[in-house]
């Protein structure tokens, strides 16, 4: 198991080096968005690579073990709905990005709204809400590395993980996670299929016997919550900073549409993850935490080498997303917070920022044991609030920047505030209420445009 795991991680580093060949990565645009040169295949793998993080691979079965099937409808629903939303929205974002020479979302906001204050506000909000996502990847990475059973302190193992993520970035910027994502997606799909099929073939194989259905959620998820969460997160998914960075790597809108049409098929992993969760629920596997369910089932049912493949797939799914977040975060600081650096200095300073972010995420993961699904929710409360501004940009609607800023602040405050205060509001996702308040404020400030 250990040799297979280590061999695949070394292979990922080789791929990162290969990704650099024939491309200069000194310029910021090459480093962060590959100069907008990715075709369908690399765009597809980078996009799905960043869609299915360790939060999906370990968090989905973990969530089912912890809470039953209550969350599954909104969790599957928002990912699935985000593909059609992206099919229509991403080409518009791509065009707006080209128009404004954007590498980041705040670049687009600065170009359209011509407001430095709004650019800084969106940048700070984006960075703040990217922290829990990095922590989530590190929690997943810690779970995988802990399961290897090496006699090494957990913090050192987490440091090795962070070091790997940084190495990918330092080698060739965004090209490295794109190439590594190909390996990661092959491994993740193989891992899930092998483990799922092993569950079905195991003695007493009825992982989901009709007589013993999975436990319902302790507090059943209401329809209002499920629908509002699907809407919020399907929209939010399309405007998260690293998604926009991925969109800017595409060669053309047609590249994006072709990849988006194929992406839902990748979700075929979820029926197998459901079978794996069912197996974990009905067998005593001595789980260290619910997030450990997938790895524990693979260890119990698969030979050592195959368990190594599973662990490498899970670890790479955390690392690819972590590098994607870092590559979204770096330019947020070097272009939007501290502008004026030349192109090469941006890439150099961004590496420092990314290293700091990785250390922060590792430290956060060491202190937090929160369930990944819960962290996922908090992330979307915040990042979705840029959606009304993005709609204004792609529809060329002219809005006073003060209203966009006020909407952003109000949306974040209402979403997080209602969540922290624990107000019910009929089960409505507080993030969606925040988004509605935000949208009303933003479009109250319109001057003229295509929408009206």
């Amino acid at each position: 198991m250990t040799f297979m795991f280590a061999g695949l991680i070394v292979l990922s580093l080789v791929l990162a080096v290969v990704s650099r060949r024939g491309h200069a990565v000194g310029r910021a645009e090459d480093f962060f968005v590959a100069g907008g040169q990715f075709g369908v295949v690399l765009f597809f793998f980078l996009a799905v690579g960043e869609t299915y993080s360790v939060g999906t691979v370990l968090g989905f079965p973990g969530g089912m073990v912890a809470h039953g099937t209550g969350f599954v409808s909104w969790f599957l629903g928002y990912i699935l709905l985000s593909f059609p939303v992206g099919y229509f929205l991403y080409p518009l974002i791509w065009r707006a990005g080209r128009l404004h020479g954007a590498v980041t979302l705040p670049d687009m906001f600065r170009g359209h709204f011509r407001s430095r204050g709004l650019e800084v506000l969106l940048t700070v909000a984006s960075i703040l809400f990217l922290v829990p996502l990095g922590v989530m990847q590190c929690i997943g990475l810690n779970t995988v590395l802990h399961d290897l059973g090496w006699p090494v302190p957990p913090l050192l193992l987490a440091g090795v993980g962070g070091g790997l993520a940084f190495t990918y970035i330092a080698i060739s910027g965004i090209r490295a996670p794109a190439y590594v994502a190909v390996l990661k997606d092959v491994l993740v799909m193989a891992a899930i299929l092998m483990t799922g099929l092993a569950c079905l073939a195991a003695p007493q194989a009825a992982a989901l016997p009709p007589s013993a259905p999975m436990p319902a959620a302790p507090a059943p998820v209401s329809d209002v919550f499920a629908i509002s969460t699907i809407l919020l997160q399907a929209l939010g998914f399309c405007v998260v900073p690293q998604t926009c960075a991925t969109v800017f790597t595409a060669r053309s809108p047609r590249t994006i549409r072709r990849a988006q049409a194929a992406m839902p098929l990748y979700m075929v992993m979820f029926p197998f993850l459901t079978v794996i969760a069912g197996f974990a629920l009905h067998h005593d596997l001595h789980l260290a935490s619910p997030n450990d369910a997938f790895l524990a089932v693979s260890r119990a049912l698969l030979p050592g080498w195959a368990a190594g493949v599973v662990m490498a797939g899970a670890a790479l799914s955390a690392l690819v997303v972590l590098t994607g977040i870092c590559l979204a975060l770096g330019p947020l600081v070097t272009r939007n917070l501290v502008p004026g650096l030349n192109s090469r200095a941006q890439a150099s300073w961004a590496k420092l920022v990314m290293a700091a972010y990785l250390l922060l995420s590792i430290a956060g993961a060491a202190r937090s044991t929160a369930l990944m699904v819960a962290i996922n929710n908090l992330f979307y409360f915040g990042v979705t609030q840029s959606f009304p501004g993005v709609i204004a940009i792609v529809t060329a609607t002219r809005i006073r920047p003060g209203f966009v800023a006020a909407g952003l602040i109000a949306g974040d405050a209402v979403g997080v505030g209602l969540h922290e205060a624990g107000f019910g509001l009929g089960g409505m996702n507080p993030g969606l209420i925040g988004l509605a308040v935000n949208a009303v404020i933003v479009f109250a400030g319109r001057k003229e445009g295509l929408l009206f």
Partner: protein
Amino acid sequence: MRPRLRLAIGLGIPFVAIVATIPVFSWLHMTVFGLPAQIVWLFACIPLTSLCLAVCLAFENRE
């Protein structure tokens, strides 16, 4: 194909299949292989969504 029709096929059908069916399945309270029928339906929506987008793409390519 007109943009509105593309939007209806590419976004409208998946939206109805994923979101609008939630209250219906809640009301039905059915299980399939021990799983809530809604989850099994969402699994079926995976190829359906891809198909809808492929239809949009095919029409756009033809134009």
